[in-house]
Subunit: 676 residues, 3 copies
């Protein structure tokens, strides 16, 4: 049976637009106003019930669904679909009070209390029992309700607990992974520091200890924590599917969020959805956001995904929270559309008066509908209807970038050559030049089928399995172009160092190998073969060419810094340092040339993002200057209806959604100018 | 019956001078030397017994008063009054050992041990029982002792505890405040994040939780913590009053100290007293000190107050502790006199040889009486006798500044637009220009009767009640001038945001309202209407005039930054940003002009503080340069006897206490020069 | 009976060379390769079994020695001596699991778990019982094994625990020290802050408390912690000595490591050994290392010592870990030889594949023997054989520098004039100018016999006993030259301030005294009498000469900054501030002139360390430039065989080991040039 998915929702609705809706925070007379304002704003999807457990089950076993019935009925009457949440992210105080063993315990042994949210131990049978009983009743009650369009399981999973029940669950997981204690001792290398386990009962979570904890134990702990939460998700999902086989199920990710291995989660969902809050103080936020969106598209197998939460303006949880200036709300939302989102939702519809998120912006601010912010929301909702045709359309990419959670976890354990080597920053440093050049990138896991890509970039893959290293080698031999960043291929899936010259499993395909990692303090001068110089930083390696050509060398001693190796039908690059951004740009261009891949625009412009979705070319000006962008072909802007044959002029924060006319159409006149 | 007060002490003694005296740290032969040196230094008040619990009650129920009898007798013989402390701030080890439930527990569940001081749970019935039994016996013993002049309850109250007994006491307090759980749920907004309480037993203190804790719960917790300690104070006070109805009772504040709401405490005291330790590394310390002193005067209802603790020179508890240079001891002490203090006391008389405060300076240093420091103490004690006439004299002010503890608490909870907005710094930024201009300011609570003031400044009042907002409105309508700073009037006493345009309850009187808070990173350029420019920082708001004139606008888009509104007979100013100091000075001058208030000096001088107390004009040179200060009228310096008709020349750290002669006195010759 | 010592090992072997060897981490087939590579590298000593508890005792009471038999046999066959460790530093998980009371508890009450290393409570009888039973069996089994050459007890002792058993042990220690509670109360000054103890049971470790803890309690706690660990060492040592009276016993120090008082430990050892890891990012690391080595020589009573652990290249535990550049491994190892080391060992032989130290460099890296790093190890091993003659040779010094652990502990308690006064930095600031001038310094405890030294420097001795102060006075009177730095002689061994003018017990010999400590923020200008100016920083004192001449004064007010006093036959200097390095150099030169001591080289060169060991003059170029060093006399380089009469030219990181020929030898030709 084919599972329902995001198409189930967008089919009749086009792009989805809406947000979290928490009517239980307001008297019922406000609800009617909400519905009317939602309609006026073009809202067609709201998420309800995320934090309603205590409202639905005010005391153990009670059920108060009447208010929720009225909410769903109201939404249905208003033509607004409901993404109904299982309210299991935040148990009521009565659960923690009566069953304190459901409260999580941190690595130091501190119990975390209610009074905030998320206070549950992922391995608590009591928590699970109460959660599933409630989900069962919720599913039973709303199966068949005409407003119900999507299930939203829990919220932003990421809890961790070190209690004794968690330790027991960890042991169960380890038994399943390793079978017996000898295998565990072998995998964890317990001959080091006298850590041998003689009885399963001795094995605990990595609690506070006098010094650095066993890195293999830590890695398995992170795997377990992700799996333990996934097991919860699956249990709720299965209940929901039993009651409503036609309603898709999702849970909201948080982008490159360390606690959960999104690759393993995504395949259990019907819809991939994400919460994303770019930092307004970060000038590179647009590129980081693009990366996150590309990850979501990758998690969705290349298909559409749902931006479940974004902020209409400021958030409340950073220390200092400037609002979004006019136009940025729209710019960021359309960026998501351009990179594959079929739904654009906000946290939240109406700003709360009380609670920890009083000062988080909302679609409808405290000051009411007659405000700058709400006017932008309305205009944006209207405009999204013009873009209905993009729903479900693919975002083509010929370049893939590999990212892996266990490798991330393993890389960033204590006790390594340098804590300045950060998996996400390394990924981003390689992503940025492609984004700047208008080259669309797919994010993929190391186990992905790479054969469809012209170029595969591996910014860092500290931990790699034999199979994945083998597939990369085969990919190159089959004609692919592979770029591998430093400190990749170092450990196996147990986090054991692969002995011999590194990166051992990729040494042959790279035609090069190293013997020493050499972190550095200041910049290191490098030189392209026969040419210009550039700086690298933080990291160098003592590497020797074994068939590869030295494309760039360290200026000091002439040792290889960047190598290129023809292997089989393809080409493999190895980068034994961390070049500064311009040099990474040069590297990207050379690798793109090897792969025969061009950027979208003939002349990329600083700050202007270019990406194709379906037949539409999106141009988004993230910069603060008006920019004139030469076009590859004449085109018409879908948002304004204007047509241009040569250029588009984009004001700051302006967006063009260009359709290139079919050949018979007469060319349009001249430049078009696009403002907010 | 009229309560005794500070006048009870100063009546026969003039200004009080002395310090904490801990004779139990020394062999008795030292005591006689102490008494002699005290007399030589002009000491007339010592605080005894603050940390003597374990000495008096070496084991549970024992009483050893004999040594204390001898101390009080010796002081009496020496003509020195005693401020006798109830030694309840620091229970003996035996209490924590035998009754560990009396030890406090922090928000993470860590029990805090003895070995330092203050280790008691404010809600422990066992602690209270032991404390009150001891106070009862102490009061009974010393009632009628001729040395006894003042009771000093506890010390620097501020303890917090999260144990289960504290949770129970918190619930009792909440029941009294809210009556039933529905009201609590409503006030705390527990529909947010599924926090509804179904049983009182579920309610706990805001203990460590996974994320931001409910801000209304936090606010009530801070109220409770202050009240719980106040309840202790009251219980001890009532015992003392029963035994000694004619002896005034105090406890020592710590200035703008967050844990206790001094407005609610002060009205329970007979004497307001304070511990104040300006930071010698802070160039603005003189102004901050003036602010603190003005707060004490406000707490004393405009009457005199007691500087219970100051340092003779260095403290020991900052990381790096420079001493006070010559003359600063005197300068700081006279500053307190000028701003209303009738007593100038030090921690402590004789420097300890052991314990955690060995390296805190004292009136009598380790090196003995033949030292620079002790010589300054003696000279200062002598000089204070010359100033006896100021005792009890008022410090007149026509400007009031509003400050409120619950608003402070509410403002600084996590999860707000910017954590760079700090209640005390905002208060100080408005206070500084008045201090620099020699305009005396009274600190008042928001519920104060404002009618006597020409100008009322509200630097920040994030939380405001309807009644207080109404009184401010009425004040303006009645002819007052009101200045309101940004992010005021935002929440109600439950910390719920007041919906609609802000500041909702002051919108009418301000003739302006806003829809969006817009914290900023760098400086923001502003322009006075038709005039000069200035920078603002950190914070801006999107505000519209609704009757007010735009006095200053943001240079970028011309939106209002400072507004002025004639309302009824008065004028209301609203400041929608944080102007730099010079611009706040300009603002202060304009508001003073509206109010018809002048500074004390015709031409204020940088670093020279000017304040009148009674008929004396104090001029204090906090700067590092000699300054020539033009006088409003001819005057004679009380400290030197010199007379000047035009100017006073003040060396660095010099002080003049000027009396303006009655008209018939012939004018004095010329300038007078005043050195240390 | 004479104890065995380091000579027992070096007698037949010359200098020792090797490292930690952890064969249990590798399959046995690797062991044979290890032995062969060790031999090829000149390894003659390996440390085995440091972390083998769980391997030897996989379950309580079991013993698996078979693998260890094979390891020792293999080493014996390979001619490599074994430093056999008692594996008691890291108990197996089964101990913590079955007997959680053996796990340590921090000052906040957090229990520290297994999963890392060192998780034992030093005061746990259960831990001790298990540890000693194992040591007994280990000693019995290997007594007489021909490979056994040295016992290595535990590892890097430094554990601390605050559990109830630790509190009980602390009380026992206190009872032995003080006899009765009155003496304890007196020593701890418990009249301060109501801390009087009425029953021994009340006394606990200094656990987390509301504020600053009693400094005398803290000082005794540090004494106890050092002693409790020493007691463990002694217990193991005694067992080992019973079984193997001829095998020397050591444990590895960590240089200037605060938790253990090395002076009290060293006298219980047969061999002094140290782990030393200079920070490659610290340009002063060579001088700091020299200081540490001189401390080890002092701990060894002037005799040879063993460098038990150093890194072949990078470590893994700093945040960022650059490797050692070529030649630095050799340079640092020869520096230790020059300063008295008779053994040069590394952590570890073969780099681990797993565990928390995977990324710590080793003698044999992951990449194998055919590497830059291993080639340097081999060359270094070879070269050490050329230097066999230095084994056991003394390092002569005429200058002593005093350093004391209890004084260090007492100085750095909270609540003092400045936390910028750091015992080790103060020591180093005085050490540096002597090192730069090629003047060898012995580190000695305050109780040392000073009579053999021409100059004694006391950079800081905050805590001093009457006896030690008396001995210093007598030393000067007898003709010695003494230099005393600021804030010395302040407290007695109970940490009580010595009242009166400071430094009270040294006032007479210094001919000067002070009344006030005056920490400062910025630099303070000083002036040598009749001459040049210099800056001092952080600290000044208000001091008066009482017979001393003012050698340098504070420029501002002319008060004495540096004083010099002829007392008896000698001279005493007092430095009442912290002069900048050049001024400390000037001071050192003047004091050396008073003492009649010259540096080794006629013209010291920046970055070139000069030190004599036996008849060899070592010159080590720590700088980055090639340097030409004039020699005092013609000499021949032992390492290259070259001879020079006037100069040696040293490349960066080059070392010369010069032997000055006897008079009849004809002079060699000219300069010699020495490279890596």
């Amino acid at each position: 049976m084919t599972r329902p998915g995001l198409h189930t929702l967008t089919g009749g609705r086009g792009l989805l637009f809406g947000g979290d809706y928490n009517p239980e925070q307001w008297p019922e007379h406000v609800w009617a106003e909400d519905a009317e304002l939602m309609r006026a704003a073009g809202v067609n999807l709201v998420t309800v019930g995320v934090f309603s457990w205590a409202r639905i089950e005010p005391e153990p076993g009670a059920r108060d669904f009447a208010w929720l019935d009225r909410v769903l009925d109201l939404m249905d009457e208003s033509g607004i679909a409901v993404d109904l949440a299982t309210p299991t992210a935040s148990p009521p105080p009565w659960l923690g009070h009566r069953r304190p063993e459901t409260l999580p315990v941190d690595e130091s042994g501190h119990r975390l209390w209610y009074g905030s949210r998320n206070q549950f131990c992922p391995s608590s049978p009591v928590y699970r029992e109460h959660a599933l009983a409630l989900v069962e009743d919720l599913a039973a009650r709303y199966a068949g309700h005409p407003a119900l369009a999507l299930w939203h399981v829990g919220n932003e999973y990421g809890q961790v607990c070190h209690c004794d029940e968690s330790a027991e669950a960890f042991r169960t997981w380890l038994k399943a992974r390793y079978g017996d204690l000898d295998a565990l001792n072998e995998a964890w290398g317990t001959t080091f520091w006298s850590q041998r386990y003689g009885d399963w009962a001795e094995v605990v979570t990595p609690r506070r200890a006098p010094y650095i904890i066993n890195p293999s134990q830590q890695l398995d702990w992170r795997r377990f924590c992700s799996d333990a939460l996934l097991d919860h998700f699956r249990a709720e999902r299965d209940l929901l599917r039993r009651h409503t086989p036609d309603i898709p199920v999702t849970t909201n990710f948080m982008g490159l969020f360390k606690p959960v291995d999104a690759w393993s989660w995504a395949r259990e969902e019907d819809v991939v959805s994400n919460d994303h809050y770019p930092d307004p103080a970060d000038p590179l936020a647009p590129a980081r956001t693009a990366l996150t969106h590309d990850l979501m598209r990758g998690l969705a197998g290349g298909g559409p995904w749902l931006l479940m939460e974004q902020a209409a303006s400021a958030v409340n949880w950073r220390p200092h929270n400037p609002p979004k200036p006019p136009g940025r709300l729209r710019l960021e939302s359309l960026q998501a559309v351009a990179r594959g989102a079929d739904g654009l939702c906000y946290f939240q519809w109406r700003a709360s008066r009380f609670g920890a998120e009083r000062f988080h912006s909302a679609m409808l601010p405290h000051a009411g509908p007659d405000t700058r912010l709400h006017a932008e929301i309305r205009a944006h909702g209207r405009e999204l209807r013009e873009l209905a045709r993009v729903a479900g359309r693919p975002v083509p990419a010929r370049v893939a970038m590999v990212f892996d959670w266990p490798s991330w976890w393993a890389l960033e354990e204590r006790g390594r050559p340098s804590d300045r080597l950060n998996a996400v920053e390394q990924l981003f440093s390689y992503y940025l030049p492609f984004w700047e050049r208008g080259v669309t990138v797919d994010l993929v896991p190391p186990s992905a089928d790479l054969t469809g890509y012209a170029l595969v970039v591996v910014p860092n893959l500290f931990l790699v399995s034999d199979a994945d290293a083998g597939a990369m080698t085969a990919y190159v031999h089959g004609g692919g172009v592979l770029v591998v960043g430093p400190f990749s291929g170092i450990v196996d899936p147990r986090a054991h160092v692969r002995t011999g010259r590194f990166p051992a499993p990729l040494r042959a395909v790279l035609g090069a190998s190293g013997e020493e990692w050499q972190p550095v303090e200041g910049p290191v001068r490098c030189r392209w073969a026969g040419g210009a110089e550039f700086d690298a930083h933080t990291w160098t390696e003592l590497v020797a060419a074994e068939g590869a050509e030295t494309v760039a060398a360290f200026a000091g001693d002439g040792r290889p810094a960047v190598l290129r190796h023809r292997a089989g039908e393809g080409v493999a690059w190895y980068v034994a340092t961390m070049p500064e951004p311009d040099a990474l740009g040069e590297l990207a261009e050379r690798a793109l040339a090897d792969a025969g891949v061009d950027g979208i625009l003939p002349e990329p412009r600083h700050g202007v993002e270019a990406v194709r979705r379906g037949e539409i070319l999106f141009l988004l000006n993230h910069g603060t200057e008006t920019v004139r962008v030469p076009l590859p072909r004449p085109a018409t802007d879908l948002l304004t209806g204007s047509a241009a044959d040569g250029h588009v002029v984009l004001a700051p924060r302006a967006v063009a959604a260009l359709v290139e006319p079919s050949p018979q159409t007469p060319p349009p006149g001249d430049d078009i100018e696009i403002t907010l």
